[in-house]
């Protein structure tokens, strides 16, 4: 009952005209970004962060969530029509979505994906509503040792689930942690690794790192890739995207299974929507009576993964909002943005800023509804974006990234920093070091250091504090199991070239 009252209050925030506009703009931008291969939601949010500084934090966050949602679906359009996933969470949709398009059922594939996404999103938000309160209560019982142990476990999970090479994942996390210690040490006041630069005394700013690693690096990488632009001539009507009764019957369980598995996977740090869609596809193929149909236009092969990636996008919001732990690159960028607005997601967010927290949850319902409406009515508009030639698009993104980064501090230093991180991001992608763990570690590094140092302060220097308290001992034991499993297991649980970029 209390949850429903809080939600109703949240709707009062979400339905304010400015927030409705924020959701609409976010969903449309997200769809556009999802359609454009090479530009992911994390890059889009990072590049748009400076633009949102004029907005209030609630509207900005509502817009970011809209972008995340929209991008999940936008990628579906190119997956179905061109067999090119707009972003990594739509990779699995290329298999059966494109086959359906070749059979003249592109509209139905896009339609079932839209409805599946809506159902999954709605379920995810309801689950988030009811999980938020209990998880917040648990998190409030956490002291510094528990938080330190939880963060160590999160980083281990990110390394374990991200990419196929765990050593490279670990290097990425450690580089992020290193960057997080740059600046004046808050306890002793000593500058660390600032190299005499006054600008570095307050630490490495988050936005230039995110813009460089995700935005500009993607421009450098996409420039040399084969372009799908200008290849779409398909036309759609509203009737053409509505699934028939038989289509619904065939895909109903795929939507249910995709929703449930996606939500659970989305909550795990490092797994994200890409892993969720892959797991859903595997489940559907195993559950099918005639798995041979998969890859040849099976509607369940579209309905399952598409429901799953949207449920995962909502699932990722659970640890972000309740524990302050982002599980993916996009949620890490969102966390960085919130911190710049002076908000710290975590258990206290629901206590100190209930209007904000529940406003966000209510606006997710609004964005979800907008998404399905926009999807059904405006697919041709999004498809036409692919007619923007790559030689125009990539330089435009570069120019926006530069001026956006400049506007952070009104100084070129941040732009040079972003360029430096773009070079690092390019090399990391080129040599298969996942950049997402670096950003996660940069955002959470200070919290980990603070929690570890406070714990040792409490125990007067004894590290036994981490294993003598039951919750932190359990979390440390889980981390140990994870590391041992990593050493003994040849293949990671999930592999994908672009994993955890969502």
């Amino acid at each position: 009952m209390e949850t429903l009252t809080l939600l109703l209050n949240g709707f009062q925030v979400a339905l304010q005209p400015v927030n409705l506009l924020g959701a609409a703009v976010g969903v449309v931008i997200g769809q556009l970004i999802g359609v454009l291969p090479g530009v992911g939601p994390s890059a889009a949010i990072a590049i748009l962060l400076p633009v949102t500084f004029g907005l209030n934090p609630t509207t900005a966050m509502i817009m970011f969530i809209g972008i995340y949602y929209g991008a999940m679906y936008g990628g579906t359009i190119t997956s179905v029509l061109l067999r090119i996933p707009g972003e990594s969470a739509s990779v699995m949709t290329t298999l059966d979505g494109y086959a359906m398009a070749q059979q003249g059922r592109a509209g139905v594939a896009l339609g079932i994906a839209a409805f599946g996404s809506f159902i999954a999103g709605t379920f995810g938000i309801i689950a988030l509503m009811f999980l938020a309160q209990p998880l917040t209560t648990v998190a409030l019982a956490f002291g510094p040792p528990e938080f330190a142990a939880l963060l160590v476990l999160s980083f281990s999970l990110v390394i374990y689930l991200t990419g196929r090479d765990k050593v490279k994942g670990a290097v990425s996390v450690l580089l992020g942690l290193w960057l997080s210690v740059v600046g004046v040490d808050l306890i002793s006041g000593l500058p660390r690794f600032t190299f005499g630069q006054l600008k570095l005394l307050s630490g490495v700013a988050f936005v230039p790192v995110a813009v460089g690693l995700f935005g500009i690096a993607e421009v450098l990488l996409s420039a040399a890739k084969r372009s799908p632009y200008g290849r779409v001539e398909a036309r759609f009507s509203l009737r053409g995207v509505l699934p028939s009764g038989a289509d619904w019957m065939a895909s109903r369980w795929a939507i249910v299974r995709g929703t449930l598995s996606g939500f659970v996977v989305g909550m795990l740090p490092g797994a994200g929507a890409t892993a969720a869609s892959m797991i859903s596809y595997t489940i559907e193929k195993r559950a099918a009576r005639d798995p041979d149909r998969f890859g040849r236009g099976a509607i369940e092969g579209v309905a399952g993964p598409e429901s799953s990636n949207n449920a995962a996008a909502v699932g990722a919001m659970v640890p972000l909002l309740t524990l302050g732990l982002p599980g993916s690159a996009t949620t890490a960028v969102m966390l960085g943005g919130l911190m710049m607005f002076g908000l710290r997601p975590g258990p206290l967010l629901f206590e100190q800023h209930p209007q904000f927290a529940w406003g966000i949850i209510a606006s997710m319902h609004v964005s979800n509804l907008m998404l399905v409406l926009v999807n059904l009515l405006a697919i041709p508009v999004f498809v036409s974006v692919l007619r923007v030639p790559k030689p125009v698009l990539l330089p435009s993104i570069m120019a926006l990234a530069i001026i956006g980064t400049f506007s952070l501090e009104n100084h070129l230093f941040e732009v040079w920093l972003a360029l430096g991180f773009a070079a690092l991001g390019y090399l990391m992608e080129r040599y298969e070091y996942p950049p997402a763990p670096l950003v996660l570690a940069l955002v959470l590094g200070n919290t980990l250091e603070e929690a570890a140092r406070q714990s040792l302060l409490l125990s007067r220097g004894s590290p036994l504090i981490f294993v003598t308290r039951p919750i932190s001992a359990a979390l440390i034991a889980l981390t140990g199991v994870l590391i041992l499993t990593s050493l003994l297991r040849r293949r990671p649980i999930v592999t994908a070239p672009q994993l955890a970029k969502d």
Binding site: V51, F53, G54, R164, D165, K166, V167, A170, V171, L174, L175, L177, W178, V181, D185, I187, S188, L190, R192, I216, V219, L220, A223, A224, P389, P391, V392, L394, P395, S396, M398, A399, L400, I402, I403, G404, F406, S407, N410, L412, V415, W416, L419, A422, A423, Y426, R430, Y431, E432, E449, A452, R453, L456, L457, R460, G461, S486, L487, L488, R490
Partner: protein
């Protein structure tokens, strides 16, 4: 890729050594409280360990280290070289445009960046000139007029 891993391992090892030395100088303990060197020493230790994994795997050693080596396909060298060259060209154009910004202003710098990059990526002169006129105008309205960002101005007051 194996060479790249080895080179990265060596660089990381040097970086880890530097981090540990800097951490020791900052001091690990301050009385009974962890000092400013606490985190750098742990991070440096972790980086050194990761660097050793990168350097030692596939070499004779503990089986666990070899299990961490993933299977991988090598790319043709010409393709890699072409991609690297294009990325380097884009980076150089961007650096040149940024160096121009304090002298000619942000908007003129963006115009130059767009013109050169669009042509470099194979765009037509028409699309280059059109974009270089429309986009900076939109940025001017958004960032300078709406968000009041004090961008560097050139001799033309823009």
């Amino acid at each position: 890729m194996r060479r790249a891993d080895r080179l990265t391992g060596l660089l990381l090892l040097a970086f880890a050594a530097y981090t540990i030395v800097a951490g020791v100088r900052m001091s690990y303990w301050q009385g009974r409280i962890p000092g400013p060197g606490f985190a750098p020493i742990w991070i440096g230790g972790g980086l050194a360990l990761a660097a050793l994994f990168l350097l030692l795997r596939r070499a004779p050693g503990p089986a666990a280290l070899q299990l961490l080596e993933p299977a991988r396909e090598e790319e043709p060298r010409t393709l890699v070289a072409r991609e690297l060259l294009l990325a380097a060209e884009i980076a150089l154009v961007t650096i040149a445009a940024l160096l121009l910004v304090p002298r000619v202003g942000m908007m003129a710098g963006v115009v130059v960046l767009l013109l050169v990059l669009i042509r470099l990526l194979g765009g037509t002169w028409r699309s280059a000139v059109g974009t270089a006129l429309v986009l900076p105008a939109a940025f001017y309205l958004l960032f300078v007029r709406w968000l009041q960002v004090p961008v560097p101005k050139g001799p033309w007051g823009l």
